[in-house]
């Protein structure tokens, strides 16, 4: 190669650096271009517009009597709605919350004291905890018990014992009237 390049134009050393530059520039452009081209493929796997559109559910609370719990669906997940009894509320409030694995006050987890609304998905690996039916095991804290790897949740849906790291999530919701809510 060197012998074919007239020395008056480009010296051998110079040719090398110029070619190197071209090589690096081409490779860098190629790499960045490939990375950019990958994004549409990756993003196509994220939730599609129709999946996102299904993201809110309306629920009528009127038929749910104190002590009763219902399970509704939101984004394909179960949502627990529990009409709490006064003693369940007191139990949830009378805990020194700072000692809990995921410290949170009961007041921060509800909008109206007697309505506890939670995503019914264990924060460990996603099983649905038991405790919605009165006949279900409710764990050591009378809330919910996850059968998969033994997580116990209290009457505020907070994690008290077991491998789950976080409290049951509170979904975004608003009271659209005194007895209806919209989740999402």
């Amino acid at each position: 190669m060197a012998h074919s390049a007239p020395s008056t134009q480009v010296g051998p050393g110079e040719a090398k650096t110029r070619r190197d530059f071209l090589l690096y520039a081409t490779s860098a452009t190629g790499a960045v271009g490939t990375a950019l081209a990958l994004w549409p493929f990756i993003h196509s796997m994220n939730p599609a517009a129709d999946v996102l559109a299904l993201s809110s559910s309306d629920i009528d609370l009127a038929p749910v009597v104190p002590g009763q719990a219902i399970t509704v669906t939101w984004r394909g997940k179960p949502v627990f709605v529990r009409h709490r009894m006064p003693e369940e509320i007191t139990a949830a409030q009378n805990v020194d919350f700072s000692t809990l694995p995921d410290p949170q006050k009961d007041e921060e987890r509800v909008q109206k004291q007697n309505w506890l609304i939670l995503v019914g998905v264990c924060t460990h690996l996603g099983c649905v905890p038991l405790g919605q039916k009165t006949t279900d095991p409710r764990g050591a804290y009378n809330g919910w018990f996850c059968p998969c790897h033994g997580s116990h949740y209290d009457t505020s849906g907070r994690i008290r014992k077991g491998p789950a790291p976080l409290n049951l999530a509170v979904p975004p919701y608003v009271f659209t009237s005194d007895t209806t809510i919209r989740i999402g």
Partner: protein, 404 residues
């Protein structure tokens, strides 16, 4: 070199040396003459891969990857499609057989030190194949959309939620939604169809590496010359065929007489995203890793340890500091090998039990031992063990016995 006297064969071979390639990789491949039956498992695994791909392609002709139809389409395969039951049972049990064979193949490699120089890359490709198989089987198990399919998929994909900061985003991305649902089933079907062909390609590369460095053998010493080898064909082709015959009896016994032996009855209940079955267990071949996951009370550490249990295999060639390959000449390693094997069985047993009381304690001890074997015992043994004298050549032990 003339591969054949046939003019057509020669004409093609001059333009695309495919016959030369086949000749080099079968008949001309010089194979140690002392291989025992543990060397049959590689070809058996390859055979099952072909069975899986064939049965899978035909299953896919009648399978519907949609949450509303998947379960029924599998039941239709079982009841209405001609020989559909056979295709499905071959595929279902074939998955279990594939893992059984590959586990034996892997332990064979550990016993005879086949991962050591110069076979490290060969070993790596094997580990990559193993990981791809796990992904394939996991996604295949989701396809019939039964209760175990759904909850297995939920628990396993949720492992990624343990990733710090972006965990939830990763899981949402894996699902294509906010829970395991139709988009998840669709992509799992797509990938379940694709991955076996990737595995096939990896097997070709695995064999390429093998034919470059040649087979290890029960003595773990190098081939010294032609007197130590015999051509692969016909000697090992016939031995591998014999192995396939025996294996087929074992495999087909399950297919015909106990087709649901390895399965979970709960997977014949259609998936219900609102109710988790009281006792969820993965397929048997994942149990040891599941036990490691649950041995740790902390979510992130559990997940990290579980992946580490597989990834540690990549560095095995450097963790084992001994120069001697075969356990036959390593008195201490030989015992450690069997204890490790037992440890894996214990982990498998614990993985099927609820994580409480004594099971949890045993699971933790077995997990600690699993890692101690790789990270502490293997390096130390290599340094302190005094190996027994190695024979001069593969032929030497036989020749001396004959002389006596």
């Amino acid at each position: 070199m003339a591969v054949s006297s046939n003019r057509i064969v020669r004409w093609v071979d001059d333009r695309l040396p495919i016959f030369t390639l086949m000749h080099h990789s079968t008949s001309a491949y010089p194979t140690p003459n002392n291989l025992n039956y543990w060397w049959n498992f590689g070809s058996l695994a390859g055979f099952v891969l072909v069975v899986m791909i064939l049965s899978g392609i035909f299953l896919a002709m009648n399978y519907t990857p949609h949450t509303a139809h998947a379960f029924e389409s599998v039941e239709r395969i079982m009841r209405d499609v001609n020989y559909g039951w056979l295709l499905r049972y071959l595929h279902m049990n074939g998955g279990s057989m594939f893992f059984a064979l590959v586990y034996i193949h892997l332990f064979r490699g550990m016993y005879y030190g086949s991962y050591k120089s110069p076979r490290e890359v060969l070993w790596w490709i094997g580990v990559i194949i193993f990981i791809c198989m796990m992904a394939t089987a996991f996604m295949g198990y989701v396809l019939p959309w039964g209760q175990m399919s759904f909850w297995g998929a939920t628990v396993i994909t949720n492992l990624f939620s343990a990733v710090p900061l972006v965990g939830t985003e990763i899981v949402t991305w894996l699902w294509g939604g906010f829970s395991v649902d139709n988009p998840t089933l669709n992509r799992f079907f797509s990938l379940h169809y694709l991955l076996p062909f990737i595995i096939f390609g990896l097997v070709v590369v695995h064999l390429w590496a093998l034919h470059t460095v040649k087979s290890n053998n029960p003595l773990g010493i190098d081939i010294k010359g032609p007197q130590d080898t015999i051509p692969f064909h016909p000697y090992y082709t016939i031995k591998d065929l014999y192995g396939i015959g025996l294996f087929l009896m074992f495999y087909l016994f399950f297919v015909f007489f106990a087709p649901n032996f390895f399965g979970e009855p709960d997977n014949y209940i259609p998936a219900n995203p609102m109710v988790t079955p009281p006792h969820i267990v993965p397929e048997w071949y994942f149990l040891p890793f599941y036990a490691i996951l649950r041995a740790v009370p902390d979510k992130l550490s559990g997940v990290v340890l579980m992946f580490a249990a597989i990834l540690v295999l990549f560095v095995l060639p450097w963790l084992d500091t001994s120069k001697v390959r075969s356990a036959r000449f390593r008195p201490i390693y030989k015992q450690l090998f069997w204890i490790f094997f037992l440890d894996c069985l214990i982990l498998g047993w614990i993985g099927a039990k609820p994580p409480e009381g004594a099971y949890l304690v045993i699971g933790r001890i077995a997990t600690v031992y699993y890692f101690a074997h790789f990270l502490i015992l293997l390096p130390l043994t290599g340094w302190f063990e005094k190996p027994r004298p190695l024979p001069d050549s593969i032929g030497a032990p036989v020749i001396t016995t004959v002389k006596r």
